[in-house]
């Protein structure tokens, strides 16, 4: 019976963080998993027409993906993540995703589970509770959980090692840019990817801030901001400290309007004085000519700076 249920995962928002875990977990339990395709203009257009004007671009894209999935699957998989650590929280968007989807689409079936450390809602237990409806053998769920976690961890380690190797690769001409943005912006086919490709064409080396030793980064983040309580932003800011000394400049990518980013990036601009910083805000109207000019000149500045320092 399980194998017949089709579960859809939208390729947006936290998919880029936990997608591997979710997919493996659901496959282990015998579900058929369908992940929506890479974001394209059509998905964005549909998502924009479905959402409240003032939603952030990432949410609009998310709705577009759900719309693509809805006719093709039985359930949509929407974890509700409120807080991952004591005293910290996430953007309130992530706690409302399920309710937004239920109110936007009629007759949608949602699989939802909560992670909220502050209220003692643990992922492990809630997953068992939710999937008990399909799988009466608890041990099978537990096994699936650990297998999926293991795969997620090994992938993260691999990514980190690759990035560290890339960082050590000696390459005197190309400047190293730290790309600071949420994974759902960085790896989105419409938002981050074109920018990364363009920068690589300009002969720049890209280091991703979301690939970092998380524990270490969390501690380092306090050097820049003492009050920060958004977990994901804290990781990203920590990455700046983690890679400092090995990078030539920082590029912040932000979707419009992002609540947490708007304040955190402003603070970084005030506090980081020794590195060139540029902030790019993306919205659904962005024409890419102006964007390319800005990126080009940013890379040029970094190159000039690098050759000057090289001569000294």
């Amino acid at each position: 019976m399980i194998s017949k249920s089709k579960i859809g995962i939208p390729r947006a928002m936290l998919y880029y963080k936990y997608g591997v875990f979710w997919q493996r977990f659901l496959l282990e339990l015998g579900f058929t998993v369908i992940v929506s395709p890479e974001t394209d203009k059509e998905i964005l257009k549909k998502g924009t027409s479905l959402s409240v004007d003032e939603s952030c671009l990432s949410l609009k894209i998310y709705l577009g993906h759900v719309d693509w999935l809805i006719s093709r699957v039985d359930y949509i998989f929407i974890p509700r993540i409120v807080s991952l650590k004591k005293g910290e929280s996430l953007c309130t968007k992530f706690m409302a995703l399920g309710d937004i989807i239920r109110n936007t689409f009629k007759n949608v079936k949602v699989i939802e589970y909560t992670i909220d450390v502050e209220e003692k809602e643990v992922e492990f237990i809630n997953l068992i509770k939710v999937f008990f409806a399909w799988e009466k053998n608890i041990f099978k769920i537990i096994k699936a959980y650990f297998l999926a976690k293991k795969e997620e961890k090994s992938l993260e380690e691999k990514q980190l090692n690759n990035q560290l190797l890339e960082l050590d690769r000696k390459d005197n001409d190309s400047p190293t840019i730290l790309l600071v943005s949420h994974p759902y912006t960085t790896y989105d086919a419409l938002l981050g990817k074109p920018i990364i490709e363009f920068l690589k064409k300009q002969n720049a080396k890209i280091i991703y801030a979301d690939i970092v030793e998380k524990e270490k980064a969390m501690k380092l983040a306090e050097n820049i901001s003492r009050d920060l309580y958004w977990t994901y932003n804290k990781e990203l800011i920590g990455a700046i400290e983690y890679y400092r000394g090995k990078i030539d400049g920082i590029l912040f990518l932000m979707v419009f309007p992002c609540g947490p980013d708007s304040l955190v990036i402003n603070l970084c601009q005030h506090k980081i004085k020794d590195l060139p910083i540029t902030v790019i805000t993306l919205d659904e109207l962005e024409g890419d000519v102006g964007l390319k000019t800005r990126l080009e000149s940013f890379v040029d500045i970094l190159k000039i700076k690098k050759t000057r320092n090289g001569r000294k």
């Binding site: 959402s51 409240v52 003032e54 939603s55 952030c56 509700r80 953007c91 309130t92 968007k93 706690m95 409302a96 399920g98 309710d99 937004i100 239920r102 109110n103 936007t104 939802e112 909560t114 901001s225 003492r226 009050d227 920060l228 309580y229 958004w230 932000m254 419009f256 309007p257 992002c258 609540g259 947490p260 980013d261 708007s262 304040l263 955190v264 990036i265 402003n266 603070l267 005030h270 506090k271 805000t281």
Partner: protein, 358 residues
């Protein structure tokens, strides 16, 4: 000696400066009251704030700058659920870069009365904890008094026979409350004025048009930031209801579980989970008033306020299912007053017409 004098200031929020003053009075040498919010406040705030910050951030920053110009050297910021908890650090950095010298007292996101008092004690260690808790109690009573009286005024000001009586009396009430300095005096002031308010002649129809205000707390409670929407409605003979005030917020904080769950229940089936800050409350109240026969609701928020945007998709559904008119306003430094007023006019004309048809 002059150098070490602590001069404290805090951002404005409606009439609550009276209560904030009661807390700070025993602690510091001088309270620098930020000038009342004007166009200049918001201009200053906007100039130095990040572009995408929400409007309360900009108002607060404007208040600080104007108070620092007047000579304040300690500023206070609270903390809360959404972006609000992070205001303090960013504002501190912005003001430092502008060259002001000051100290920031920031309260954490976890409130409980003893910790709050201990934090306040750091401003002036010579004052005893008991004294601070007593002043917190005074402040609480003042908040309750303001809310109780404001509530009566809000419901009735639209129907006064002689225009301006309520306003005049309310000003007198604030003045009296400001100088009431112990438990009994506050109680007496509140009761006296409630009596006199009730004596003011009003001409209220049996079933007036009732409208409920929902949304984000800052723009709800600071009339300047919402272009006095409440007043404009009252002038048209509309009874304005509003649940959100400091008393209700304090209630939510200290009895968090019960109240939040209550609103979630009221919001069902439009919400299954809490959606952050006051979003859940907005949906719950809208659902309740739609069922309770209210004529309409006004939803206001700063531009880009995430919890309230979360609530909006549920509000659309409620509006559709109950044929319940809801109008949405979001405020930014670019929002034009005329635009808001025109839309509001159209909205209450619609309500009045609808009522007449019945």
């Amino acid at each position: 000696m002059e150098e070490n004098k602590k001069k404290i200031c805090f951002p404005h929020l409606g009439n609550y400066f009276i209560a904030f003053k009661a807390i700070m009075e025993p602690l510091v040498d001088e309270i620098v009251l930020a000038p009342s919010i004007t166009k200049r406040t918001i201009e200053l705030g906007t100039r130095y704030s990040p572009e995408a910050a929400c409007i309360p951030f900009k108002y607060n920053l404007g208040n600080y700058i104007e108070a620092l110009e007047k000579g304040a050297n300690v500023i206070v910021q609270a903390g809360g659920g959404c972006r609000f908890g992070y205001y303090g650090e960013v504002q501190e950095q912005i003001l430092y870069n502008l060259g002001y010298k000051f100290e920031l007292i920031k309260f954490t996101n976890n409130y409980d009365i003893v910790n709050l008092a201990k934090k306040l004690q750091t401003i002036n260690p010579k004052v005893s904890l008991i004294r601070i808790i007593y002043s917190l109690l005074l402040a609480y009573l003042k908040v309750r008094a303001i809310d109780k009286v404001e509530n009566y005024v809000r419901l009735n000001i639209g129907f006064e026979k002689n225009k301006g009586e309520f306003d005049k009396m309310f000003k007198a009430f604030l003045k009296k409350l400001d100088i009431s300095n112990n438990l009994f005096a506050i109680r007496k002031t509140k009761n006296e004025f409630l009596k006199t308010f009730k004596k003011i002649e009003i001409d209220k129809p049996e079933k007036p048009i009732r409208v409920v205000m929902i949304g984000e707390l800052y723009v709800l409670m600071e009339p300047f930031s919402n272009f006095n929407i409440e007043k404009q409605l009252a002038e048209k003979g509309i009874e304005v209801h509003r649940h959100c005030n400091i008393s209700s917020i304090l209630h939510d904080l200290f009895m968090k579980e019960g109240i939040m769950r209550g609103f979630l229940k009221k919001a069902y089936p439009y919400l299954k989970n809490n959606i952050g800050a006051h979003g859940t409350e907005s949906v719950g109240l809208a659902h309740l008033s739609a069922k309770g026969g209210f004529e309409g609701a006004i939803h206001i928020k700063p531009f880009g306020c995430i919890p309230e945007v979360n609530a909006m998709s549920s509000l659309y559904q409620i509006s559709k299912d109950y044929k319940f008119p809801i109008i949405y306003f979001s405020f930014d430094s670019q929002t034009s007053e005329t635009g808001v007023k025109t839309r509001l006019e159209a909205f209450y004309d619609l309500l009045i017409m609808k009522k007449k048809k019945k």
